[in-house]
């Protein structure tokens, strides 16, 4: 059994009077693809926001390895090795594709304002390395041909992929993908599935929010189901798929009372 890399312990978060997540426990093993599914409003994106430090949990902790990261600053969490994409694409539209990825790689760079101003050898070295790395990532994701296009002018599918590329730029241990296939047609979904697998095979651990079941069933090692801010299942895809509680959460309970 590979070791646990991310551990959510008894996570609870309340907004006003509403409990958005209630005592959620979730473990992410190194090198796996874990899918997080559940109906709209179940709290999936809230989980992402808790992991990346956008929200602080009301109670409970998030451990990256042995370090509790809840309460740490967002950019610091990224530096520790967690990167994410956004459900509603949030690229830097006025930057080129390449610059978007380089902005991601900057978190590993050390040179600051003064170094950049004087163009120290280290700053030149880092800039060069960043460009090379960014191109490499774009090739890996298969969108290098768009490197010099402005992000806002990219086709939708490329924008979604660029979100992933930018996140990879930060050299994360864990990649959080928030509905990467939203708005994709079946063909694009197949390609995306291959890309996600390729990323995993390159050594990343992936936590994925997705609604498309065929995609999830095809690539995930494990599926966790949230409903109403609670985890109602966490198992192999084939098992989860036939879990009556899950089916009920998704398709609704056939009404027998009325």
């Amino acid at each position: 059994m590979s070791k646990t890399i991310l551990n959510l312990k008894d996570l609870t978060i309340k907004f006003g009077g509403v409990t958005a997540l209630n005592n959620v426990n979730l473990e992410l093993k190194e090198g796996e693809i874990l899918a997080l599914i559940g109906p709209n409003g179940a709290g999936k994106t809230t989980v992402f926001n808790l992991i990346t430090g956008v929200y602080k949990p009301t109670s409970g902790n998030v451990f990256l390895g042995d370090v509790a990261i809840d309460g740490k600053k967002r950019h610091h969490i990224t530096k520790l090795g967690i990167a994410r994409t956004f459900q509603n694409i949030r690229l830097f539209g006025d930057m080129t594709t390449l610059e978007n990825v380089i902005t991601g790689t900057d978190v590993r760079n050390k040179v600051g304002l003064i170094g950049s101003m004087f163009g120290t050898p280290r700053s030149r070295r880092e800039e060069k390395a960043s460009v090379a790395k960014a191109h490499e990532i774009l090739k890996f994701i298969g969108i290098d041909e768009y490197a010099d296009r402005l992000a806002k002018n990219l086709p939708y599918g490329v924008q979604r992929r660029l979100e992933i590329a930018r996140a990879l730029g930060t050299e994360p241990k864990i990649l959080l993908l928030d509905e990467p296939a939203a708005g994709f047609n079946p063909q694009e979904k197949v390609e995306l599935a291959a890309t996600i697998k390729k990323i995993r095979d390159a050594g990343y651990t992936i936590l994925l929010i997705e609604h498309d079941m065929s995609l999830i069933m095809g690539i995930s090692d494990r599926v966790a189901v949230l409903d109403f801010g609670q985890k109602i299942a966490d198992d192999l895809p084939s098992v989860v798929q036939n879990n009556p509680q899950v089916i009920a959460a998704y398709l609704g309970v056939p009404e027998d009372a009325s």
Binding site: G16, G17, V18, P39, N40, G41, A42, K152, N153, Y156, E179, A182, G183, F184, N185, H211, D212, M213, S214, L215, I216, M217, F228, S238, Q241, N242, V246, I247, A248, Y250, L251, G252, V253, P254, E255, A257, S258
Partner: protein, 239 residues
């Protein structure tokens, strides 16, 4: 009353969210749009109510193209929407929220009371909480308020966007029962849902949306046991 979308296209910036759909809603029907996230269901409803601009195509309401009529005037034509996420006014009382539903109607006091009575009969909980701020209601109560508020405008067609979202199963069943009741009073309903089972049980006809396209149109009862629907939600291999 007849609502018809003809080859409707809608863009968000450069991205095409609705890629030419055609949908018909006839007088007295409950029609449901189902499909996964990002399929374009909510966008479709927002376009009908005027919150989103039409890129091309038509929205025909009783034969008239209303696609350039501003949102606030569509209410007066008889199109009301209970939006996704309920969109109630948190700082107003339940009663004030309901009164907002009648914003442009210069009804007599007696008509106002009549409509209030109707809503309160459908949702007795709202009457109990009439003077409470909307923001303090539970999710289910807020959904009731959103629907009740939309009904206050005496709509010909009621657009419901995911009324089951974030609600407990008991409450979902309750809401759907009421939707049928509303329909029986003569209000046509266009319902967007993720909860396919419930929606299909209640609706007459259904459209399945996938990435901005209508991929299937059928009688709701036919789709209820259609493996394709199940597949759309749970993927192949579910049985």
């Amino acid at each position: 009353m007849r609502l018809e979308l003809k080859d409707l296209h809608v863009h968000y910036g450069k991205i095409e969210a609705i890629k030419g759909i055609s949908v018909v809603v006839n007088q007295g029907e409950i029609v449901t749009l189902i499909g996964a996230n990002g399929a374009g269901k909510t966008t479709t409803l927002k376009t009908i109510s005027g919150l989103r601009k039409v890129s091309s195509g038509q929205i025909l309401f009783d034969g008239q193209d209303i696609s350039t009529v501003p949102a606030h005037e569509r209410v007066d034509l008889g199109i009301s929407q209970a939006p996704e996420g309920r969109g109630i006014f948190p700082g107003m009382t339940v009663l004030e929220n309901l009164e907002m539903g009648k914003f442009n109607r210069k009804d007599r006091k007696s008509e106002m009371d009549e409509d209030l009575d109707k809503v309160y009969t459908l949702f007795p909980r709202l009457k109990e909480r009439a003077s409470q701020a909307g923001g303090t209601l539970s999710g289910g109560e807020q959904q009731m308020l959103a629907i009740g508020r939309a009904l206050m405008a005496r709509p010909k067609v009621l657009l419901l966007d995911e009324p089951s979202m974030g609600l407990a199963p008991q409450m979902i069943a309750n809401i759907f029962r009421i939707i049928t009741e509303i329909n029986k009073t003569g209000v046509t309903i266009l319902l967007v849902e993720q909860n396919a089972q419930q929606a299909l049980q209640r609706a007459h006809r259904a459209y399945i949306l996938e990435t901005g396209n209508v991929v299937k149109e059928a009688k709701a009862s036919d789709l209820l046991n259609d493996p394709a629907v199940r597949e759309a939600y749970l993927g192949t291999g579910a049985h």
